[in-house]
């Protein structure tokens, strides 16, 4: 077998098809003529000789075809063998080369791995949560349909209304924009079949839902419209629930189960893919939802017809809704809001922001790898030139460099995927307590391909950069000059400096963003809440049958319960309130102030309302800034206490006490028993300090009305303890003695607040980690450039030292150059950050997105990192011995 080098030397390897075909023909021709000559020499006539030669050769057409086939086969095989041999040689050569420079190789692989790992982790989350949020066929046309108040929602939170059954029916019957509309209602129920009652998740859906989800029942059947006519006492189990709870027992079909005191017959098992939304806790049991039942309202999802835009569908649903009721002055109380599944993903903006941030980290990593490779190719000029002079073709050298780069890329992406896996689990571990969906994220095929594609691309691109660099110098020039003088060419250097400046700029952007989020987080944590959350608990009593229909009985019960509760050791005070921290309750209407012009009719406002006992403010630790707490809790006294923010906004420095306010209900609130303007006036008796009970950072100037009447009808009690929740342990027993069997829910206000902060904290942490990564990578990049510069300038430094330059002067020049690159990068980065911080503007509290402190500190940190990166190169420069440096090659 011919060794590849020999074969190449004689240009035998890559022969085109016509060439070897011609060779076969030539060989046959030569054979025939030689044979004929032989026969003629033995005495045959030329004609006889040719005939005999052809006979001995065999049937010509057939033989030729056979020989051509054999030759083709031979060429193919030999080509392949040679290719594999070359590849093996390239790979082992690359492995040896990389192995010789362990430090360099490790840094390059680590850089790639960090970039790819961070990208993989974030992209796994994004692709699971944002790119494929629903499991239905034609997912691109699936939308969610809701209603929102058309005006007056000044609360800053998203208020949605689930449409009532009559509206849903109108939409289903007349809307052309939708192929299908499905109503759903999701919630827990108590399963009381077999053993202890347990909580199961239930989804009420239309009988058509399985079909909508593109699935058939695994066993049995889906419930039907007929089932609903028959009373709807049927359920279908989800596959996973059937397997876990019933051990995949096929005989459950036809059996009864009891949910919340109602019995249902199991008619079918639905495959796991039938779910309303991707959830951590999916529905275990599906119940029929009756769209004919006007008492119901339901969440809606639908599949748009192909080509129908969301705007068109919204318009159509609005116009159908307008025909379903009598609305004065043509104003609709609710507007239709259609959202795509991706828009409904929690923390969508934050995820998009993190994707952008991780893209910056990846860019920095790529820039780093680029100049690591550039530095190396510069150092290898001579090696490449020698190999070229020894006869290696340009293509061969290119292949060699590409093999090396791809090998780095492969190792980098393998480590990167591992880091990505670790990172993803890190993200899941750090997740906000309420953000369980993130657990659904996993490394999927798409993510892996993207990561591998990135690695391969970076390998090829950087491989090419190296080769182009080396191709710029002819072998002759390179060998003639010393390595030092060639590699120090200015152009080469400027390219690398540009890369470092870009890295610094990208890091600066991340630094500013992270600093802003950190400052915002600090503001949230140190914010004055206006009440004292320590040892404060909300005790919510279970609803007992009968209490709903008899408010007086409940009132009496609650009063008794609270008075007993106050006796418990460790309980300092307790007060009934209709709204506990973390939740809000609104009165929707026109807020009028006595003596001022009323807002125009039809204006609606969401006014926070809380019905509280007089002791509420003391229990909560909310100081009263004006007046006192309620002195008369009777309904006829109509006393109200307002929040300081609203009082300040409306009355400025004057006292709000004695003024009267009322919420004029109108048709939009759905209450007709009080026609507009007949609502009684409430007299302000006190002004309470603003209390951020829904978490820090909430709006304080929006009106909050505390009223006294009817407070005792609420099942929620705010309890101030002297210590922790243990003081509240006897409550269950207390309730038992009062005849209530079920346990109450007890929510700590501090836990609630920390939960409220866990979202911003998560985003801040992740962005800070990415910023740290970016800084480390950029620092390594700068270090690389500076170390390289010092090496290149060894001779120059030596001369300067010999001419009497002091050590501090040399150090200054190295440090100055590094810092200058950082300053340049910081300048570019801060300008870009000024634009890029728009992405996090909505997440900032108490700090604007152009906060000068964040910008300045970002730049300072960057420059400090730059100086740190220059320490080692500077020391190396100081250690230059002039005699050695000048004599060296």
């Amino acid at each position: 077998m011919i060794r590849s080098g020999v074969r190449r030397a004689f240009r035998l390897a890559l022969r085109r098809r016509d060439r070897w075909e011609r060779e076969v023909e030539d060989e046959i021709k030569l054979h025939l003529s030689l044979r004929a000559e032989q026969l003629v020499a033995q005495g045959a006539t030329p004609e006889e000789a040719f005939r005999e030669a052809a006979r001995r050769f065999g049937p010509l057409t057939e033989s030729r075809a056979r020989l051509l086939e054999a030759a083709r086969h031979r060429e193919l095989r030999m080509h392949r063998t040679e290719y594999i041999a070359d590849l093996r040689q390239d790979v082992s050569f690359a492995a040896r080369t990389l192995g010789r420079q362990k430090g360099w190789t490790a840094i390059t692989i680590l850089t790639l791995a960090l970039g790819i790992g961070a990208t993989t982790a974030v992209f796994s989350v994004v692709s699971t949560l944002l790119l494929s949020p629903v499991p239905f066929p034609h997912a691109d046309r699936i939308v969610y349909v809701e209603q929102q108040p058309s005006q007056g929602n000044s609360t800053g939170i998203r208020v949605t209304i689930t449409p009532s059954a009559n509206v849903v029916r109108a939409w289903m019957q007349t809307a052309h924009s939708f192929e299908a509309i499905e109503g759903t209602a999701f919630g827990p129920r108590m399963l009381k079949t077999a053993g202890e009652p347990s909580r199961v998740m239930t989804a009420e859906v239309f009988p058509t839902f399985a079909q909508f989800a593109g699935q058939r029942p695994l066993r049995g059947r889906m419930f039907t419209a007929q089932d609903i006519l028959n009373g709807g006492r049927v359920v279908a189990l989800s596959e996973s629930f059937w397997r876990q709870r019933f051990g995949s027992d096929p005989s459950v079909l036809g059996k009864m189960i009891t949910l919340n005191d109602t019995s249902y017959m199991i008619v079918g098992i639905l495959p796991a893919a039938v779910q309303i939304e991707r959830r951590v806790r999916p529905a275990d049991v599906f119940l029929p939802l009756d769209v004919q039942d006007d008492k119901r309202s339901m969440a809606l999802l639908g599949r748009l017809r192909p080509g129908v835009t969301i705007e068109a569908a919204t318009k159509e649903l609005d116009s159908i809704f307008a025909r379903t009721g009598q609305f004065s002055s043509g104003k609709l109380p609710f507007k239709t809001v259609i959202t795509t599944p991706a828009q409904r993903v929690q923390m969508r903006d934050s995820l998009v922001m993190l994707t952008a941030a991780v893209a910056l980290v990846l860019l920095i990593a790529c820039a780093n790898v680029a100049h690591l490779l550039l530095a190396r190719s510069a150092a290898r000029q001579r090696e490449l030139a020698i190999r070229a002079a020894l006869g290696a073709g340009r293509w061969r050298l290119l292949r060699q460099l590409l093999t090396e780069s791809l090998m780095l890329a492969f190792l980098g992406s393998a480590c990167g995927i591992f880091l990505g896996w670790v990172g993803l689990h890190g993200l899941i571990a750090m997740r906000p307590t309420w953000y369980d969906e993130i657990q659904l994220a996993h490394l999927n095929a798409l993510t892996l391909w993207v990561a591998i594609g990135l690695a391969a691309l970076s390998g090829i691109v950087f491989g090419l950069i190296g080769t182009v660099q080396s191709a710029r110098y002819s072998a002759h020039d390179t060998l003639k000059n010393s390595a030092t003088s060639v590699s120090a060419s200015g152009r080469h250097h400027r390219g690398r400096a540009t890369l470092v400046v870009s890295e610094m700029a990208l890091s600066a952007m991340l630094l500013v963003g992270a600093t802003l989020l950190i400052r915002s987080m600090a503001n949230l944590q140190n914010a004055d809440l206006g009440f004292d959350p320590k040892g404060l608990y909300a005790v919510r009593l279970p609803t007992e049958p009968g209490h709903d229909t008899m408010p007086a009985a409940r009132s009496a019960f609650m009063t008794e319960f609270v008075s007993r509760l106050r006796q418990l050791p460790g309980v300092r005070s307790a007060a009934i309130a209709s709204v506990a921290p973390g939740s809000r309750s609104f009165s929707i209407g026109r807020l009028e102030i006595d003596g001022e012009t009323a807002p125009p009719a039809g204006t609606t406002l969401f006014v926070d309302v809380n019905q509280v006992e007089p002791g509420f403010f003391a229990t909560m630790g909310i100081p009263l800034v004006q007046g006192t707490t309620f002195t008369d809790t009777s309904a006829s006294a109509r006393q109200v206490i307002i929040n300081a923010g609203f009082a300040r906004k409306h009355w400025g420095d004057e006292s709000a006490l004695g003024h009267r306010v009322r919420i004029a209900q109108n048709e939009l609130s759905g209450k007709d028993e009080h026609p507009a303007n007949s609502e009684p006036w409430l007299t302000i008796v006190g002004v309470a300090h603003d209390a951020a009970t829904t978490g820090p950072g909430s709006e304080s100037t929006a009106p909050v009305l505390y009223t006294a009447s009817g407070a005792t009808a609420s099942p929620t009690v705010m309890v101030r303890t002297s210590g922790d929740a243990k003081a509240l342990a006897p409550i269950t027993g207390l309730l038992h003695t009062m005849g209530i069997r079920n346990a109450p829910t007890i929510d700590g206000t501090e836990e609630f607040l920390s939960r409220a902060l866990s979202g911003p904290r998560f985003i801040m942490l992740v962005l800070s980690i990415f910023t740290g990564l970016a800084l480390a990578l950029a620092g390594v990049g700068l270090y690389g450039v500076m170390a390289y510069t010092v090496t290149q300038q060894t001779r120059e430094i030596g001369i300067r030292v010999a001419l009497g330059a002091s050590g501090s002067r040399i150090a200054r020049s190295v440090l100055w150059r590094g810092t200058w690159l950082a300053v340049l990068g910081a300048a570019v980065g801060l300008v870009s950050a000024n634009w890029a911080t728009k992405m996090i503007e909505s997440q900032l509290h108490g700090v604007t997105r152009s906060d000068p402190l964040s910008f300045v500190s970002g730049a300072l940190v960057l420059i400090l990192v730059a100086i740190a990166a220059c320490v080692v190169p500077t020391r190396r420069a100081l250690a230059v011995d002039p005699m050695t440096a000048i004599r060296a090659d």
Partner: protein
């Protein structure tokens, strides 16, 4: 004496043997075989070329264009070291095999193998 057809697989061996002396082109191999076999083997000329290509594909031969004594361009084949090893091993096998088969075929009725050489 009639001409014997070449047994399957032995042609490759014969070609390798032919080339074990010196590199040859196709017709030289044919002529050498005819001379060596004293024209008692029946080989179709095209079959020989097929064998040569096959051997080249397996890396046992290597080809190179050269010029004949009469100044004609011809494809010369040369044994590679792999080919030489292969020839040695296969020759040993063949001889052993042929001996065994011969001894069985020419054994006396008693079942005793006839002494070699008879």
């Amino acid at each position: 004496m009639s001409r014997l057809p070449v047994l399957k697989g032995t042609l490759d061996l014969l070609v390798l043997r032919a080339l074990s002396w010196t590199p040859m082109h196709g017709f030289e191999i044919v002529s050498w075989l005819e001379r060596a076999a004293n024209s008692s083997l029946e080989i179709e000329d095209s079959a020989l070329y097929q064998a040569v290509y096959r051997l080249e594909e397996r890396g046992l031969l290597q080809a190179e264009w050269g010029v004949t004594e009469n100044n004609r361009r011809a494809r010369y084949y040369k044994l590679t070291s792999a080919g030489r090893t292969h020839l040695r091993a296969e020759t040993r096998n063949w001889v052993q095999y042929a001996d065994t088969v011969t001894s069985i075929l020419t054994a006396s009725k008693s079942g005793e193998p006839a002494p070699a050489g008879t």
